[in-house]
């Protein structure tokens, strides 16, 4: 018998070597208690959370929690069925209405996760003779959407408008084209030049899909994302998003003004062949989305947090993923995985949780300590966080 697991041996060995040094496993952290969107108990210690996607701090919002409890009582714990069979409850339609109102768009379709939203929409709308033109640093769910379908895949250099335009011009003019972009790229926290990219895509006859997972609720006047902030949301054909970040629960969606959009409900396999979200989840999502419409003050405070952490980390001597803060994600670039893991552990001992990100999730083989801020991090907490980075950085010789 050939052991099908032998292909994982190099990774198993790398992990063992790293853990033999006595390091805590960065990919096995358990939160024993969660006190708030910004604080949890890990290994018995009070820990500030700086590595969640809880950008707008909605997970403990009293209205959101109450809506979930009420739905549990009134509709039960789950739907046990597909959206197109017995899995569409009033709550699912209410959630889609909340999305249509939030984005001011005609159509909204809720998937069970954001991953499935990309998987479903991308694989379904781009057929065999169509082209998908995508940023090289696209999220795994976008690549997997390409792999599930059978379109021709054309990647271009990250955030490079010129590279995108050149490729569009080389493609047959009569072929169907879908350009796939992200508002905020989650590894470095950098924003796409959507204004120019959407323009060149339209000039070359392509439809445009933008994944706004990491910008919803925070970026743009109404929190609709980078496309809104850069004034091109009306030219974007499809926006993909998630409930597992600013919205504070789980689920994914696509919103669009395409007149034939609703047909996707019948032809999109990752929508049809899976169970719909539990009633409590869509109830919390709908309540949260409606509250995010009027969260200008929280958006302003989150920007303040992002700017302060970026400036503070830079002053301490850390190398950051972007020259300016562009989103709620601040990526600290580590020289290698060993140092990154040591720094991650030192921060945890200080009482701070950040994400350790490594290849293949990261671009250019980088190891990153990814910090994502929350609108509910107080000014004092950001100060505390900077103090912890200073201490851990010196203890691991990352800074002098």
């Amino acid at each position: 018998m050939i052991d099908l697991f032998s292909k994982f041996d190099p990774l198993i060995e790398q992990r063992e070597t790293l853990l033999e040094t006595g390091l805590t496993d960065p990919f096995n952290l358990v939160m024993e208690k969660v006190e708030s969107p910004t604080v949890a108990i890990c290994n018995g210690n009070r820990t500030i959370l700086l590595g969640t996607y809880n950008y707008m701090g909605m997970t403990f919002d009293p209205d959101v929690v109450a809506a979930g409890k009420q739905a549990l009582d009134e509709f039960g714990s789950g739907t046990t069925g597909s959206r197109v069979l017995n899995g569409t409850y009033a709550g699912h339609k209410a959630c889609e209405q909340a999305l249509k109102d939030f984005y001011a768009m005609d159509h909204a379709m809720v998937f069970s996760t954001g991953y499935q939203a990309n998987l479903g929409v991308i694989s379904t709308i781009a057929g065999k003779d169509d082209y998908i033109i995508l940023d090289i640093d696209s999220h795994a769910s976008i690549y997997d959407g390409c792999a599930l379908g059978n379109a021709q895949i054309v990647p271009f250099r990250h955030n490079d408008v010129d590279a995108l335009e050149k490729r569009l011009k080389r493609l047959p003019p009569e072929a169907g084209k879908l350009v796939v972009l992200e508002g905020v790229y989650s590894m470095l926290g950098d924003v796409a030049p959507l204004k120019e990219m959407v323009r060149v895509s339209k000039e070359n006859g392509a439809m445009v899909l933008v994944d706004e997972a990491h910008s919803m609720g925070f970026i743009g006047e109404h929190g609709r994302g980078v496309a809104e902030a850069q004034g091109v949301i009306d030219d974007v054909d499809f926006i993909i998003g998630t409930f597992s970040k600013s919205v504070g629960t789980v689920g994914g969606f696509c919103v669009s003004n395409h007149p034939k959009f609703e047909i996707l409900r019948l032809v999109c396999r990752p929508y049809v062949f899976t169970a719909s979200l539990p009633p409590s989840v869509v109830a919390t999502a709908a309540t949260s989305i409606r509250k995010l419409m009027d969260s200008a003050d929280k958006r302003a405070h989150l920007w303040e947090n992002s700017k302060r952490l970026h400036a503070g980390l830079r002053q301490l001597g850390f190398t950051l993923g972007t020259d300016e803060p562009q989103s709620a994600i601040i990526a600290v670039i580590m020289p290698d995985l060993e140092t990154g893991a040591a720094m991650w552990e030192a921060l945890l001992h200080e009482g701070l949780y950040v994400n350790l990100a490594r290849p293949p999730a990261t671009p250019a083989g980088m190891t990153l300590l990814r910090c994502s801020l929350c609108a509910l991090h107080s000014e004092d907490q950001v100060g505390e966080i900077l103090g912890m980075f200073a201490a851990a950085g010196r203890a691991t010789n990352c800074i002098s």
Binding site: I136, Q152, P155, R170
Partner: protein, 80 residues
């Protein structure tokens, strides 16, 4: 329309900056096994080849290309 020899010479020239191991490159050289390129190196290299020859090499086509010779063959077809 460039001939095969020209395409071959240009391809070898484009490989060199990424040939960190100093491998003696022939048409039988394999990108993954012999040049030991990871996926990121491949993406960078392909972008350069595409811009130089003014063609598109889709990821679907890339999946079929293992050796330098296969890439040259593909470029001959794409530039024809």
């Amino acid at each position: 329309m460039p001939d095969r020899a020209e395409i071959s010479a240009k391809t070898l020239e484009l490989i060199e900056p990424f040939n960190k191991k100093g491998v003696a490159v022939t048409e039988a050289t394999r990108f993954a096994q012999d040049l030991e390129w990871d996926s990121l190196t491949v993406l960078d290299f392909v972008a350069n080849v595409e811009d130089d020859f003014d063609v598109i090499i889709t990821m679907n086509m890339q999946a079929e290309i293992e050796t330098v010779g296969q890439l040259i063959d593909a470029l001959v077809k794409l530039t024809a």
